[in-house]
């Protein structure tokens, strides 16, 4: 018996079907990672917690029985009971209902709000990292200016100028939040563009846009995504804070921040009005952070 050419090489044209290659640690890396994502405790816990809140928000009409906005002064300030699971606020509105609808509002805004700075930051960061030179200098100096201001100071100032409402929240968060993504992506691209496959793409005459978009970005985006997870948490906090300060979504909308604000006068008597929205914020923040941790573990380059 003798081995003829290509027998051990399953990609050889003389071979037959694709034979399972003797596993090399490097090869099995990504498959192994993909396979074990559901075994990652942080990720699973985060997904469960966030999932529960998300599902509750989605099926809000099914699990709540009152209108979140309509005032009903005769039922004001009742404690928790069978009819009102978490009691009512000073305007007679059911707290549980407002809590769930608040989830809808806050989560929706946060998830959308994180996309704009993500996109803007990734694009500008890519340009700065890939082209270097003047583009890099200008963009990075703008980043330096924005970063010099504390996040909330700038945010509040912008929202104040633009007026309350969802739209000004989106604009303000975008203008302030893009810088972190830009820095992250720029750093990753500075390293990645030295890889030889980028040189190969350049020598093949592919356009810079194509190289950036198709070749570089998919390889560097994971860090930005991981950061995005923690950024959602930050955005939720920002929205809630704005709401607390009266600068966010204006009343009578059910929003956790304004609920916390509204309930703080009654802390000694009806602590649940402020506490439960606060707990909800913590819970969502925890869930999203855990997802971010889990993703960071899984997407970490190398073993």
């Amino acid at each position: 018996m003798s081995i003829t050419a290509g027998a051990g090489d399953q990609f050889a044209p003389t071979g037959g079907a694709l034979v399972e290659m003797s596993p090399r640690p490097a090869d099995r890396g990504v498959q192994a990672r993909r396979a074990t994502w559901y075994k990652n405790p942080a990720l699973m816990a985060g997904l469960i917690i966030t999932g529960i809140v998300l599902i509750a928000a989605i099926i809000a009409p099914l699990i709540t029985f009152y209108n979140p906005i309509t005032q009903n002064l005769t039922d004001a300030l009742q404690g928790p009971s069978a009819a009102h699971w978490l009691g009512t606020d000073q305007f007679g509105r059911d707290t549980w209902t407002r809590l769930v609808y608040g989830a809808r509002l806050d989560l929706r805004i946060a998830f959308i709000a994180v996309l704009f700075p993500f996109t803007l930051g990734v694009v500008l960061g890519s340009i700065a990292g890939y082209f270097g030179g003047w583009a890099d200098t200008i963009i990075m100096r703008v980043v330096d200016v924005v970063v010099a201001f504390p996040f909330y100071v700038l945010l509040i100032a912008l929202v104040f100028v633009l007026g309350p409402g969802a739209r000004s929240i989106y604009i303000s968060i975008t203008l302030v939040g893009w810088v972190s993504y830009a820095r992250i992506v720029r750093g990753e691209i500075l390293v990645a563009k030295r890889q030889e496959y980028v040189l190969a793409a350049q020598s093949a005459g592919l356009s810079n846009t194509r190289i950036m978009g198709r070749h570089l970005l998919p390889n560097v985006i994971s860090q930005a995504i991981i950061y995005g997870m923690s950024d959602i948490v930050q955005d939720i906090l920002a929205i809630v804070t704005l709401g607390y300060l009266g600068l966010g979504i204006p009343p009578p909308a059910a929003e956790w921040g304004s609920m916390i604000n509204g309930g703080q006068n009654f802390l000694s008597t009806h602590w649940e009005l402020t506490t439960f929205p606060g707990l909800a914020v913590i819970l969502v923040g925890l869930g999203l952070s855990l997802i971010g941790d889990g993703l960071a573990d899984i997407l970490r380059p190398g073993q």
């Binding site: 044209p13 020598s203 592919l206």
Partner: protein
């Protein structure tokens, strides 16, 4: 099987690529800092190269670190901008920024198979992207052409949907070669294509390159530091030192009758299965000078056993000997009695 033939059926006569006075420079750090350190700010990686590559030949460019051979390869491929000099390809001048068809005609295979393939693209996507962007074949034929390319390098079509991580080093290099051939180049530049591979795998890639030359009539420029590989694969060799070509000759002529002291030292330094005596001094002592501080006159004089005053004053030209037009050396004492008296290489003297 219709083998993909090089594009632009070349005009037929004259060298395929002529480079004259080619220079590539890099700015190192800041001008101010350089002045403090009393070093040059400008690194002359490639310092005035004249080179012709004939159609269908396999030219090797050998040199050690700092010789500028990789920079030369990248300049010829068009990845690195050229500071001075010009390149004429198949009779036409190559513009500084290459477009379309010019881009395709010179392609490169890189050294590290683990970073030269995009980990997120399947082999099929990699190839089809190139084929489509450059319209190498009609859209309907993209997949069949990709399969032919893979067959050409010895891979089956099962490689098409696979990701680079599923391949071994040798197979990745084959994918890299297939990618380079996708654009149907006339000239393939291979920058140390086997250095990162295991010894037993190197043979497959070397054999492949040799066979591709025969089948496709491909012109090959091989960058290597390994003279054994060069001897096996190439018919002409250029030896580079600190950005210049110091000797240029057909392979066997170079190895049996080296005229430049650096070439002689290089040959003497090659370890062989038949060792010489260990009491001898090494072939060459000391370190090469920094490319930031290239010596005046002949740049090799600081390590050359033959150095004289003229070497300090005059930079020798790359000139041919009286007897052999194809053999050129940049040494004042080349092709003369003094050159022949220099310590001959211990290796390669069969």
């Amino acid at each position: 099987m219709t083998a993909p033939e090089p594009a632009g059926q070349t005009a037929g006569s004259g060298p395929l690529l002529t480079a004259s006075g080619l220079s590539v420079t890099f700015n190192v750090g800041s001008a101010f800092g350089a002045r403090i350190r009393k070093e040059n700010f400008v690194l002359r990686a490639v310092d005035g190269i004249d080179l012709e590559i004939e159609r269908g030949e396999a030219l090797a460019v050998v040199g050690e670190s700092g010789s500028g051979k990789s920079t030369l390869a990248r300049a010829l491929t068009g990845i690195t901008p050229v500071a001075a000099g010009e390149m004429i390809f198949d009779g036409r001048k190559l513009a500084a920024r290459r477009r379309g068809r010019d881009r395709r005609r010179i392609q490169m295979v890189f050294q590290d198979p683990y970073s030269s393939l995009n980990p997120r693209l399947t082999v099929g996507s990699m190839l089809s992207e190139l084929l489509r962007v450059h319209k190498v074949v009609p859209r309907s034929e993209v997949e069949s052409f990709s399969r032919e390319l893979l067959n050409l390098v010895g891979l089956s079509e099962e490689a098409l949907p696979a990701y680079p991580r599923q391949f071994s080093g040798g197979q990745r290099q084959r994918v890299a070669i297939a990618r380079a051939l996708a654009l149907r180049p006339d000239l393939l530049i291979a920058d140390e294509p086997v250095s990162a591979l295991d010894v037993s795998v190197q043979a497959t890639i070397l054999n492949l390159l040799r066979d591709l030359r025969a089948e496709l009539g491909l012109t090959l420029m091989l960058i290597s530091h390994n003279l054994a590989v060069v001897r096996h694969l190439c018919n002409r060799v250029a030896v580079m030192y600190l950005g210049r070509i110091v000797e240029l000759a057909p392979t066997e002529e170079l190895f049996s009758n080296p005229q430049h002291p650096y070439t002689q030292a290089l040959l003497a330094a090659i370890p062989t299965l038949e060792p010489g005596s260990w009491d001898e001094e090494p072939a060459i002592t000391g370190d090469p000078p920094s490319p930031l501080n290239i010596p005046s006159g002949c740049r090799f004089r600081t390590r050359c056993p033959l150095a004289e005053q003229i070497c300090h004053d005059q930079d020798p030209e790359l000139r041919a000997g009286a007897a052999s037009a194809g053999h050129r050396a940049a040494c004042h004492f080349a092709f003369s009695a003094a050159g022949a008296a220099a310590p001959a290489g211990g290796a390669g003297q069969d």
